[in-house]
Symmetry: C2
Subunit: 561 residues, 2 copies
């Protein structure tokens, strides 16, 4: 691939956390004018204790705030909307935002938690809407995903047309959604696609994703068999799945209890906007549960990933005010397990079984479909769009690499495919595509409580060290006159060993500290406390390691009085 | 199930860590005489920072050490042998141990790291061996697993015969191992099986496990295609897989480089004992790698789980002395991903792809087979053995529950199946089986460095708290005469916020501490320092939470001078 510069090129910059290329945010820039696609966050890794989530690094926009013309949001999942309350006011809190009705509803609902912020300026668009933002003309088109009102983008730019697929899958028999309109996709394609940016999440999975219809049929089997209560755990964002469960419940004369704050909120918004339909009397308050026979009860709840505070966990831990598991209950996990949560979900499942309920999960039966196109669909998308250039987005590097292979198998030449990382600057010209040598800053920004970006590598490393072997504070009070330690050094330790059972070790450590101080001071002259602290840190560290093979963080404090 | 007592009953007690019932250890007790099956450990969960591994709780054996007659070890995996160096000398360091040749070799090799311990007393047994230990007569029989020399147990006891399957799968076309001998299994069964204890690991997986032959054929395809070096990462304990890779390398004229300490050790032992066969000149030292053309090189290494210090990671991080990835390399992940490691393995895979090698993993192609029987095989085992009673072992609760369902489908009555937890006492009589009301202690014992069991709930909880939001030590030096703080309180904080950028917060905190102390002391009378410390802890905690929404561990120190 050639090295390129910005003149006469459109710049494309994917941003976001942890290798999920462009999932959270993408910039399009033409002659200083910038358009943003999506503004999401992602959840932290295990080695980032205490971190709430990771938001895109927008250092590149510093000083360019005035050039940002607008934000397009493809759909209402948190990895595409979650960073809005953290980033929008750093750019321009009245920035025009364009998105679909449901996505708008979800974004505005979330803003209620950030009530000190200015009301967002969101314009509603839908399948077929056409808007102009500076040098860009954007036409929105419907694509299936596992949340309704998902929009792909057909962007006319000075260098050619770009198709951005959002997250998508092809579904000819979706449930409570419009089937994929292949004719419309071909129509768009007929206007010539210069660059296709397509969702890579499912690129490593062979074949075609399940249709939601299959899921509905399997869920129906479970409803048919179940005599007792049905407790269905899924993601609060799987609006279509929730609709399926509500409709099935209605078909079997069951009342529906929605449990969990985010589930309740999403159902509320989706109902208000017409994306969830329930007959009058179907949805019931959970305190009324005792009035209904078990065979007439469906509970839809959050917590399928084993989240500590979610309803499912509260039921299991017997902390839920109205609901306990019992024999006869059927628990349905209608969601996949997010990588990293496998162990927690296993423990959850074990505990439900111990409490005598029957469990169905997606490994036993197809009761969950992912929201992402798999290899066959991805190839079909490329074949429909016939782009000049191809850029896989939305996925870890291995998924992008697999998607690039699919593009090759669909006939694209390797030189016309760009596989990039977050922060890369892709230069798209009329005749060619290339990557600038120097990327923009893309080191992830961590949010912890009220702090945005203030937890950096040092704080994180300290947390990891503290987690591993705890800490050990040694406080020595030294007489300024004599240079001798007064009394016995204080020791505070947490997470290292159980101190009450380690008196001998503490005694030896204190003796060691006294030795170090008096040895260093005894030689006369000016006392170098920094040196003495280093000595304590090193020698006590070695001593404790020899005794325990652990390396607590050692913090010496010397107080002169 | 009925409540039972110990008279005239054989007691069976599964032990071990974290819900993997009986995987690590099982006790058999008849009239005070105790036989132990296996003595393994397991790796800790994510919420146990700093812990090396978890060993079985043997409190039940305290005071009964003299009654322990022997230890039987079924096979050489660490979850069955790993706790020996930690537990054997707490029971009896000359306890007779019975196991197969390869398992013995692996155990003895490991003991070299515990050279201060007395040499273990291990007697070698094999398929067909018959031994008497007190009231128990044990006949060993071969069963396939993914390590050679795995032995099932046919135990004659005063109440009837027990079959213990060890970990197993049926394989009629294994590679470098004997096929499953169904006639022998039927012969054993014909002597009447009172209780079957069978491996549940694969009970939730439908159908039949792959044969190692399939794996070999698929690996052969990769060898056929590859022009450059082949780098195969797998578990060091998968001796058969290593053999397959060596044999394929020989067939394609490739030299084999074994990388990684545990891999080297296992290959060495297995070769010495005849379980790995390699022609003279096949295995080569890694420093000789530059002397061979890429097409004639196979590297077999550890690190397929993304372990930080394993060879694969060192190659990726460019820390390996001789090996770097390059275009043309083929990397084969010939192992499954252990739950909890998915994210790390993803990062690993991404990085290898960035370094331009080609990657094959078990999701793309059947290049790994688990070592455990799946539902069809498990049903067949039950149908062959036709036991009076059935006890699923070796698995999380959900696997045991699934295995129990399989047993029912094989015709066993529910009342004859016992699904228990670690620490449960199962009483097996001539006519019935039951569980004692009171279990034995089974809370897991954590090993951290040299400490065995000294990290308990408190230390672990402190580590979790420290990991989440760090710590905050406040040191106030108080004048004994005036009760006033001398100078400004010292603050040491780690893992909370980056102090250099938080001077204002520290200043406010110091002021707060001075206020609290002078407020409490000013009222006259005896100064209650414990109360003042509590006040500092609470008020500073609230203050910091309000400012940051984080809750560091707050440790106040008051020094009177």
């Amino acid at each position: 691939m050639q090295k390129t510069t910005r003149e006469q090129n459109l710049r494309l910059i994917p941003l976001g956390g942890l290798g999920e290329v462009g999932r959270n945010m993408t910039l399009l820039e033409w002659q200083e004018k910038i358009l943003i696609i999506d503004m999401g966050f992602r959840f932290p890794e295990e080695d980032m204790p205490g971190i709430d989530f990771i938001i895109p690094n927008i250092s590149y926009l510093k000083g360019k705030e005035k050039n940002v013309l607008g934000l397009i949001v493809t759909h209402g999942h948190y990895d595409h909307i979650g960073a809005i309350p953290y980033l929008i006011n750093r750019i321009n809190d009245s920035l025009p935002i364009f998105t679909s009705r449901l996505t708008r509803g979800i974004i505005l609902k979330r803003q209620e938690d950030f009530s000190h912020q200015r009301r967002l300026n969101i314009e509603e668009v839908k399948d077929g809407s056409l808007i102009n933002i500076g040098p860009f003309k954007i036409e929105f088109f419907h694509l299936n995903h596992n949340i309704p009102d998902n929009l792909g983008l057909f962007i006319t730019t000075p260098v050619g047309n770009i198709v951005h697929t959002s997250d998508f899958k092809f579904d000819e028999t979706p449930v409570y959604d419009v089937p994929t309109d292949f004719r419309r996709l071909r129509n768009l394609a007929s206007r010539r696609v210069h660059l296709l940016m397509s969702d890579s999440t499912g690129a490593e999975n062979e074949g075609h994703s399940f249709s939601e219809k299959t899921i509905s049929e399997n869920l129906n089997e479970i409803f048919k068999k179940s005599q007792g209560r049905i407790i269905a755990a899924t993601f609060a964002s799987l609006i279509n799945r929730i609709q399926q469960l509500i409709s099935l419940s209605e078909a079997y004369g069951r009342k529906v209890f929605i449990e969990g704050y985010s589930m309740k909120t999403n159902v509320e918004i989706s109902r208000a906007l017409g994306f969830i339909k329930a007959k009058k009397g179907t949805l019931v308050q959970s305190k009324e549960i005792s009035r209904h026979p078990d065979s007439k009860i469906t509970i839809i709840c959050t917590g399928a990933q084993g989240e500590g505070q979610a309803s499912l966990m509260r039921i299991i831990n017997k902390e839920h005010p109205f609901i306990r598991f019992k024999k006869g209950d059927t628990v349905v996990f209608s969601s996949s397990v997010i990588p990293g949560n496998e162990r927690t979900v296993q423990i959850l499942k074990d505990e439900i079984l111990r409490q005598k309920a029957t469990v169905y999960h997606y490994k036993m039966m197809d009761i969950h479909a992912g929201g992402h196109a798999q290899s066959e669909e991805l190839k079909e998308m490329i074949e429909i769009m016939k782009p000049d250039f191809f850029m896989p987005i939305h996925g870890q590097y291995s998924m992008l690499a697999a998607h690039a292979e699919i593009a090759k198998s669909a006939g694209l030449e390797e030189k016309n495919i760009v596989v990039v990382e977050n922060g890369s600057i892709v230069n798209l010209g009329k005749k060619k595509i290339g990557i600038e040598e120097k990327p923009v800053p893309s080191y992830y920004v961590m949010v912890d409580g009220l702090g945005i970006g203030d937890v950096g590598e040092i704080v994180l490393r300290d947390r990891q060290t503290l987690a591993k072997d705890g800490m050990f504070v040694i406080i020595a009070v030294v007489d300024r006159q004599t240079g001798k330690i007064k009394g016995s050094p204080d020791i505070i330790s947490r997470g290292f060993i159980y101190l009450r059972e380690s008196q001998e070790l503490l005694k030896q450590t204190r003796r060691k500290v006294i030795e170090i101080v008096s040895g260093a001071v005894g030689s006369g002259g000016i006392v170098n406390w920094a040196y003495i602290k280093d000595e304590i840190r090193n020698k006590v560290g070695q001593f404790l390691y020899a005794k325990t093979q652990r390396r607590p963080m050692i913090l010496p404090v010397v107080i002169e009085v």
